[in-house]
């Protein structure tokens, strides 16, 4: 697949590297020659210096023959204009990164499409969704559900006191038929486990199950589910505003920001929230706003380090759920090790939407979740595809993927070695980075 990416910022270059690893043809356009030169000499991509909103640059990138055009410059208007131009030059599908809800409004769908923008990436919106899920299921790190919860994948950190800590996976599987341990994240590495792997203290395990059995997991992993009501947000960023607008009815938000000017703007943008001006790293201020009575603490400032530290402080004060925005991908594993609840990363969220698009370009129902070095995807088995040719254990799948569960006729079930996948099944696949194109081939 030929993909043209406009904008070599953080999201753009992350996507370029990722998609190049997935064996796609990537052309990356940016105006900054220096930024491109390091990418060009180190990655298997082609770069082009030029402005993404000029016809000449787009022609030079041969947009006309591109299967996908992704505009991820920092400016929403540039992205929309670039997509519109690319579409008029003949790009098959265009995708623009946006920064306001306006484009996503269902009333404007046709208008946006008429402008030549087929798909939208709105990382702040996705981040807000992710945070809401995390607040609703406060005991998990990740919560990924298909078909209204017929199949649920949860990521949980295993405390030493949990029942399953120290258990061999094969023993676990013998006694518990309703769970499928899809992956284990240990330190910097994600493992697709086999029967003789042990679950250790401090691992983050990804377990697939059906709706009826999710609650059994609480006991197994030694977790308690809390109901979250009072939420303290540090940093009045775009994500915070989006979040307040989407979930203002269910939670009571308080936003702390150190920028006075921004504080004055915030009440207009999110009317139901309480706005406090001050530095959220200041313990006195935190005590003053009632950190001890807060159920959840969300750190959304621009600095990943500040967010991580602030969440650690909040944990010390007994806040039950903390969520940090961490934009440096290298920091994510560290932050996960530090027992910060959920981690939000805009780049990973953006890549989820791209992967979803790559896997299933003609339907928007399937879901996809990008983790630091693995992907979870929902795929529909096509008639005649390789995956339907026999029982799972006989398919000789490569070791960097696992099939976790499936939905057949609206009913969720887990997959064992003897399961035969039928055309039309929606399958939940967990695969390590770089393997998603293999998965795609299996299903099409």
């Amino acid at each position: 697949m030929k993909i043209v990416i406009a904008g070599a910022g953080e999201v753009g270059s992350h996507l370029a590297k990722l998609l190049s690893n997935e064996n796609q043809d990537i052309i990356l356009i940016d105006e900054n020659a220096e930024r491109l030169s390091t990418l060009d000499s180190n990655y298997n991509i082609m770069t082009l210096v030029g402005c993404p909103t000029t016809f000449s640059s787009l022609r030079e990138a041969r947009v006309a023959s591109a299967d996908l055009f992704i505009a991820v410059t920092p400016y929403e208007t540039d992205n929309v204009v670039a997509c519109s131009m690319a579409k008029s030059l003949g790009a098959s599908t265009t995708m623009a990164r946006i920064a306001s809800y306006d484009y996503m409004d269902p009333d404007n769908n046709d208008l946006v499409r008429n402008m030549g923008v087929d798909r939208l990436i709105y990382p702040e919106y996705l981040a807000a969704l992710e945070i809401i899920t995390a607040l609703e299921h406060s005991w998990v790190r990740h919560w990924f559900e298909l078909h209204e919860g017929q199949i649920i994948l949860v990521g949980v950190r295993v405390p030493g006191s949990a029942q399953i800590a120290g258990m061999y996976l094969k023993d676990f599987a013998h006694t518990n038929h309703h769970f499928h341990v899809s992956a284990i994240k240990r330190h910097h590495e994600t493992i697709i486990p086999r029967g003789d792997d042990i679950i250790k203290d401090g691992d983050i395990i990804y377990i697939t199950t059906t709706r009826d059995h999710v609650h059994d997991l609480l006991d197994l992993t030694g977790k308690v589910s809390h109901r979250i009501r009072r939420v303290l947000i540090m940093g009045g960023s775009k994500i915070a505003v989006r979040l307040a607008n989407m979930a203002g009815d269910n939670f009571r938000f308080r936003i702390i920001d150190s920028d006075l000017k921004r504080c004055h703007e915030l009440p207009g943008k999110c009317p139901d929230c309480e706005i406090i001006h001050g530095d959220a790293r200041d313990p006195e201020l935190l005590a003053d706003v009632g950190l001890d009575e807060t159920d959840a603490f969300i750190a959304l400032t621009d600095s990943s380090e500040t967010n991580i530290l602030a969440c650690l402080t909040a944990k010390e004060h007994g806040v039950k759920k903390t969520i940090a925005e961490v934009e440096n991908i290298q920091f994510i594993s560290q932050a996960e090790g530090l027992n910060i609840g959920t981690i939000i990363n805009k780049k990973l969220l953006a890549s989820s939407s791209i992967f979803q698009m790559l896997l299933d370009s003609d339907s928007s129902t399937s879901k996809c979740l990008a983790l630091t070095d693995a992907e979870v995807a929902e795929l529909e088995a096509r008639p005649g595809s390789k995956i339907t040719h026999g029982a799972v254990k006989d398919l000789r799948l490569s070791r960097d993927m696992t099939l976790a569960g499936l939905i057949r006729n609206g009913q969720g079930m887990l997959i064992t070695g003897n399961t035969v996948i039928e055309p039309g099944d929606h399958v939940l696949v967990f695969c390590l980075s770089g393997a998603i194109h293999k998965v795609e081939r299996l299903f099409n």
Binding site: K2, N21, D25, I26, D40, N42, N44, M46, T47, R186
Partner: protein, 491 residues
């Protein structure tokens, strides 16, 4: 968990890829084997044995070694590229050692390295009976080396189509920056090789029309497009008498000196890119200017006897020198010292980067001149902000610095090489000329200075040294020199 200590270089993976490349060399060796069989020569056995040995060792490396990870970094790329060229020469020389007119070790290695680096300097004395197999193998070596061993592998093996392959591409392809013409490295390599193969086939056909027999056409097509310049005994005779052959060879040597990425653009109809390309324009202008000086020199000296002496022959000589091919029209020794000096200048500059030619490349000359012009201007207007523009794009000062460093090291290496050669007892003029000739991959024989007809008379140590210079010149200095830097081997 303890993190696995990452080694400096991924040796297992390197050996595996080297194994793979050796299998390819073994396959290339089938060509001379079949040639020998066709001509009924006894050398077929030697070639077949070498092919089996090379491919056999290669497959052992390939199948027995299982690297823990396929990761390849910058260091791996440099080391692998340099090693591959040495290993190719080592195995490529085996037939020379064992053939019906055997050579000694230093000669054979020199000849093989000269072939792969498209230098075309030869230790064969003319008149020695070489089998057709040896001749075609020499020509084929140039042809493989011209576009690049690594580039060939990148084009045909999907295994290397990742960032590790990227590092090897950077280490082998000539030029200051490496323009990709397609999004993935394997596609770029494929396109470049397709053009290369197409040019070669066209040339074989045109030479055959010449008329030349098929065998000679193939040998010379390989030699001209790769700007290598090995010749056969029959060559001088055919070439000297046929204007047609000279003209055709001139055109294809010229094309061999053009950036293949640019030829690709030309082929795909993008002529504005060709027209706007400063380097290409300079290349053409340089050829015209040198030709004019040649003609003036010839007229002043009064040694032209026919129209050919001021038309076809000088232009053939100019193109052959500037593209570092090193074919000569047969009467070069008659042209006098001024022409010799011009030839030295052309050997230094070479043709466009990203072509099969050697030398320091016109791209770098252009950088140098534009930067010098800026510096001179700045002595009068110290506050002026000046930039170097190439192909309509401003080049960063870092890059200009890198180019100047390249040119300095280049000259230092030639000087050092020449000095060591004179210490080995080679006359000074010859010592410096051969060092220069090998470093720039031109391969003009010492014939020009009259020391001897070929490199055969040089001492053994000198041949090893020149082989090293050829390799450094072909891989554009940094790839080889970085291996000698202490920082390369330290964490």
């Amino acid at each position: 968990m303890k993190r696995l200590e990452k080694p400096l270089v991924n040796i297992a993976q390197l050996l595996r890829i080297i194994g793979l490349l050796m299998i390819f060399e073994g396959m290339f060796l089938i060509v001379p084997t079949l040639t020998c069989v066709y001509y009924g020569e006894s050398d077929w056995l030697q070639f077949a044995a070498t092919a089996v040995l090379t491919a056999g060792l290669g497959s052992i490396l390939m199948t027995r070694i299982h690297p823990r990870t396929g990761y390849m970094g910058k260091r791996d790329g440099f080391l692998l590229t340099a090693l591959v060229w040495v290993i190719f020469s080592l195995f490529g020389m085996i037939p020379f050692l064992t053939c019906s007119s055997p050579m000694i070790l230093s000669d054979a290695f020199f000849e093989a390295m000269s072939g792969f680096t498209t230098t075309g300097a030869s230790v064969f004395t003319s008149g020695a009976a070489m089998s057709h197999g040896v001749l075609i193998w020499r020509a084929l070596m140039q042809w493989i080396g011209g576009m690049g061993i690594i580039l060939f592998t990148l084009a045909v093996v999907p295994m290397l189509n990742h960032s590790g392959g990227m590092q090897m591409f950077n280490a082998e392809v000539t030029g200051i920056t490496h323009d990709k013409i397609r999004p993935r490295i394997s596609q770029t390599a494929k396109s470049l090789w397709m053009i290369y193969i197409a040019l070669t086939l066209i040339l074989v056909f045109l030479l055959w029309l010449g008329p030349m027999d098929v065998f000679d056409s193939v040998c010379h097509a390989f030699g001209a497009v790769s700007t290598g310049g090995f010749t056969n005994d029959t060559f001088d005779a055919v070439c000297y008498h046929s204007v047609y052959v000279k003209v055709i060879l001139t055109v294809f040597m010229f094309l061999g000196g053009v950036n293949f990425g640019l030829i690709f653009k030309g082929f795909s109809g993008n002529f504005t890119a060709v027209k706007r390309n400063d380097v290409f324009r300079t290349y053409v202008l340089a050829i015209i200017a040198f030709y004019a000086l040649f003609v003036i020199s010839a007229i002043v000296r009064g040694d032209f006897h026919s129209w050919r002496d001021i038309t076809v022959d000088p232009i053939f000589q100019v193109v052959s020198t500037i593209t570092s091919t090193g074919y000569s029209p047969g009467n070069s020794h008659m042209w006098g010292s001024f022409v010799m000096a011009l030839m030295l200048m052309m050997m230094f500059s070479g043709a466009c980067a990203g072509s099969t030619s050697g030398g320091a490349k016109i791209d770098r000359m252009l950088f140098l001149f534009k930067n010098c012009r800026n510096e001179i201007y700045r002595t009068i207007h110290p506050n002026a902000i000046m930039s170097v523009r190439i192909n309509g794009r401003v080049v960063s000062p870092d890059l200009v610095g890198k180019v100047i460093a390249f040119l300095c090291i280049y000259m230092l290496l030639v000087a050092a090489g020449g000095t060591i050669l004179s210490a080995l007892g080679v006359p000074v003029a010859d010592a410096f000329f051969s060092a220069f000739s090998c470093m720039s991959n031109t391969g003009f024989g010492a014939e020009i200075t009259g020391y001897g007809a070929t490199y055969e008379l040089l001492p053994d140590a000198a041949k090893w040294l020149l082989s090293l210079l050829m390799l450094i010149g072909r891989l554009e200095i940094f790839t080889v020199l970085v291996l000698f830097a202490p920082a390369f081997w330290r964490k």
